[in-house]
């Protein structure tokens, strides 16, 4: 990952990248700025502190959490390869109402340790959004006050938005084994 760091620091970086790199030098895995949308891909370790920093720093002021969701990248080989075969990516959309800027934070999560700290104590809105991500993808949010299914029934089995879950019928397909396919 160190080559990517050198590559990206040369050009003039947006303030948020500079500050994050200064504060958490190891956090950022990748940066992209496509279609006017700034995205940082960061490590799961220390994500809670990073998000707290993004919200509370007086120059960044990302005070508004617009969305929390996840993507199952198991069918997109090129993305998988980039992030050490992390099957899921948790995606946060942040917004600064003061500076009118948006930031997308993506966190790769491996299927083996399918959990990530909950942001509910930073933004109350994260509560249900994380419950939905848990319901749809089976990602556990640590220290979440009320991690239950939200859209599907409580006794439902499976996580419908996973790529191995069929459009019709129930349950993940048995023939689809991500772990075995990508050893």
């Amino acid at each position: 990952m160190s080559e990517e760091h050198e590559e990206t620091t040369e050009a003039q970086q947006p303030l948020v990248i500079q500050k994050v790199q200064e504060q958490y030098p190891d956090a950022i895995l990748d940066i992209s700025d496509a279609r006017g949308e700034l995205t940082i891909i960061v490590r799961k370790e220390g994500i809670y502190e990073l998000m707290e920093f993004l919200k509370n720093d007086s120059e960044l002021t990302y005070n508004f959490l617009a969305d929390v969701t996840a993507v199952d990248y198991s069918l997109m080989e090129d993305v998988l390869m980039k992030y050490d075969y992390a099957r899921f990516v948790v995606v946060y959309h942040l917004l600064s109402t003061e500076k009118k800027e948006r930031l997308r934070v993506k966190v790769p999560v491996h299927e083996k340790e399918l959990s990530i700290p909950s942001m509910t104590s930073i933004w109350k809105v994260a509560n249900w959004l994380e419950r939905e991500a848990y319901d749809m993808f089976g990602i556990t949010f640590e220290n979440h006050p009320d991690l239950r299914r939200i859209l599907m029934p409580d006794d439902y089995e499976g996580h419908p938005l996973r790529k191995d879950y069929p459009l019709r019928g129930r349950g993940e397909r048995e023939t689809f084994n991500f772990e075995e396919q990508n050893v």
Binding site: A34, R35, E37, T39, N63, F64, L65, A66, D67, T69, V71, D72, L75, M76, V91, H93, T97, K100, R102, R104, W123, K124, V125, N127, W128, L129, E132, M136, R149, I150, L151, M152, P153, P160, L161, Y165, L167
Partner: protein, 398 residues
Amino acid sequence: MHTDSNRVPGEPMTLNFGPQHPATHGTLRIVVELDGETVLKATPHLGYLHTGFEKLGEHQDYNQFIVVTDRMNYLSPLSNNFGYVLAVEKLLDIQVPERCEYIRVILAELSRIADHMVWLGMGALDLGAFTVMLYGFEEREKLYSIFEKTTGARLTTSYTRVGGLMRDIYDGFEEDVRAFLNSFPKALKEVHALLTRNRIWMDRTKGVGAVSAEDAIDYGFTGPCLRASGVDWDLRKAEPYSSYEDFDFDVPVGANGDAYDRYLVRMEEMIQSGRIVQQALDNLPDGPINVDDYKISLPTKEDAYGNIEGLIHHFKIIMDGHGVQPPAGEVYGATESPNGELGFYIVSDGSGKAYRIRIRPPSFIHFQAVPHMIEGGMVSDIVAVLGSLNIIAGELDR
């Protein structure tokens, strides 16, 4: 909570509010624990209308999904169509013709008025003001006639297309809309006379379900609900899209964040939407409505029937897997829908179907704050709070 020392504490009672309660406008359910008439605890349950829109989006091509967006906020389907295609166009990195942008703005603002009119009528009906519903629905009916003439449908409009519109506006559209713009402020005036200084209405809504500005941001409020709490935030001003920067309009902001302020903000928003529509009609540019690229929008009928190239392009767009194919990447497109920020997060793998479509629905996020707003209040306030938030179950569960 109770300071009355003579009061004998009783067993709390559990009440099921919904899923088929008339004031829920759709199927949602709140389990409330009551002490007398005071709400001790409220637990919302949802998912009754969950139909897997996001999963469907992974199996339909980009134009097919427009049909699904109709069914989200079914009070203003045109706004959903609009927000979705804007996100796809951002992904494709294309700019639609100005005429198309203006028509989209006109219809989005008219559907904002239609949405607020229904909200007004139903919200007032829930609190016992029957007359207001008739005023609200009469105005909406006029709008729905215009929508029906424009799109061919009253509710499932599916009017936008990636890179343009289904068809141009009809002859006489301008007169119809201008006639509406002249008539609806009168109806609003009557509603103001019926409600704004009405003792009962004020008692039922003032101070009910109040949310502070900090809490509103913490709970992710957007749209009229956020502005009622005193935060001046409107995506049409903050991140102008689709030529909104061309129009002169005000953003009404409340002070107390209670049901009464949400009512006043929405009432004023309708007037402002009227101003936008007026300006857009005055300056409506001529020209094409679709992008000049047959890889994205359908060829004209003359081309499709008249020459082989047009026919092939027509065929390619319609055939499964050959249609609109955005480059690989991801995009988050947000618009100011009548209820607040409606966001579409689309991940593309470069094929004709989205790899993932995530919808950020304002109702889902507003509904989360309902326990915060009603706990400690009276049981009858639940109706006032739900009404003032305009929770749409189709958008809530998707």
